[in-house]
């Protein structure tokens, strides 16, 4: 016996001769699988807004999210009124100034502009 070569023949024979699974064992294993398989989420567990969103999406397709957002924004504008829209502009004080260019930059612009 030369060793490795002959052992490889034995191992190859063993690999080809895996035992057959009996139908009874397979049935038991699949019964276990069915017993412990998590169930897909039931409809009753989905909260109301998800159902409403799903219904809107079904009716309006891809426009549903944008439509809903626009509707809510329209209601908000209508309720708040155009004269009291500071909330929309933020909390900027009336005296606040936004400096678009630094003073030194303005000076340089004058110097080189002439």
């Amino acid at each position: 016996m030369t060793g490795t070569d002959d052992l490889d023949g034995f191992f190859a024979a063993a690999r080809e001769a895996q035992p057959a699974v009996s139908p009874k064992l397979m049935a038991q294993v699949l019964a276990d699988a069915a017993a412990f398989q998590p169930q897909p989420r039931a409809k009753a567990q989905v909260v109301w807004w998800q159902r409403a969103y799903a219904a809107m999406a079904e009716l309006w397709g891809g426009f549903a999210p944008g439509l809903a957002t626009a509707a809510v924004a329209g209601l908000a504008f209508g309720y708040a009124g155009p004269l009291s829209s500071d909330w929309l502009a933020g909390v900027m004080a009336p005296q606040a100034q936004v400096q678009m260019m630094a003073a030194s930059d303005l000076f340089l612009a004058e110097e080189f502009g002439q």
Binding site: M1, D6, P19, V29, L30
Partner: protein, 196 residues
């Protein structure tokens, strides 16, 4: 035809589908993994078919239970399953004591029922001789040799299954193969290996 028809899903993907409630995933996983699980358990338990079936069913049951908590990317399903089977078989061997199985009594069913051509009978005799020689190995050597040379795992995978280092795996398989060579050498000619 489904867009992914013909593409074979990985064990991990099937397990994820099972956890999401797909019943077909359980069938596919069982068809793929149960024969390997049973074959490995049978060899570790020296051919005790009833014990091996119990172990295979228990290992698969643990797989179903862990599926919802399976963390993808951390381990291969097969590696995890081999580890479970190894531990279950160790427990059974400790509990029941080691049983010697006479050579020739543990031919696989498929070969038992096949028409008896000479080549098939020779293959069956080799398998039987190997199983008999494997049964005489120390448990850890037997586990390492079976995982490496019959189940086809890599040494790092075997190290994970057995909870030891890669060097220890190499040592166990080398010693196991030397012992197998010595044991099977005596039956060499009877099993169809002739000197040139």
């Amino acid at each position: 035809m489904a867009f992914d028809a013909g593409l074979e899903r990985s064990d991990e993907a099937l397990l994820a589908l099972y956890a999401l409630g797909d019943p077909a995933a359980a069938r596919d996983l069982a068809a793929r993994l149960l024969p390997r699980t049973l074959g490995y358990a049978a060899r570790l338990l020296n051919g005790d078919r009833a014990e091996a079936e119990d172990v295979a069913q228990e290992a698969m049951l643990r797989l179903w239970k862990i599926a919802p908590d399976w963390r993808a990317g951390e381990a291969k399903v097969t590696t995890w399953l081999y580890r479970v089977v190894t531990n279950l078989c160790s427990d059974r061997r400790r509990g029941a004591g080691r049983r010697a199985v006479p050579m020739g009594d543990d031919l696989p069913d498929a070969l038992d029922e096949a028409p008896g051509s000479e080549a098939q009978m020779l293959q069956a005799a080799r398998v039987s001789a190997l199983d008999g020689a494997l049964a005489d190995l120390p448990d850890r050597q037997r586990e390492a040799v079976i995982l490496r040379h019959i189940e086809g795992l890599t040494n790092p995978e075997i190290a994970l299954v057995m909870g030891i280092g890669v060097e220890a795996v190499e040592s166990l398989t080398a010693r196991g193969k030397r012992a197998l060579t010595a044991a099977l050498g005596q039956k060499r000619e009877a099993l169809g290996y002739y000197e040139d």
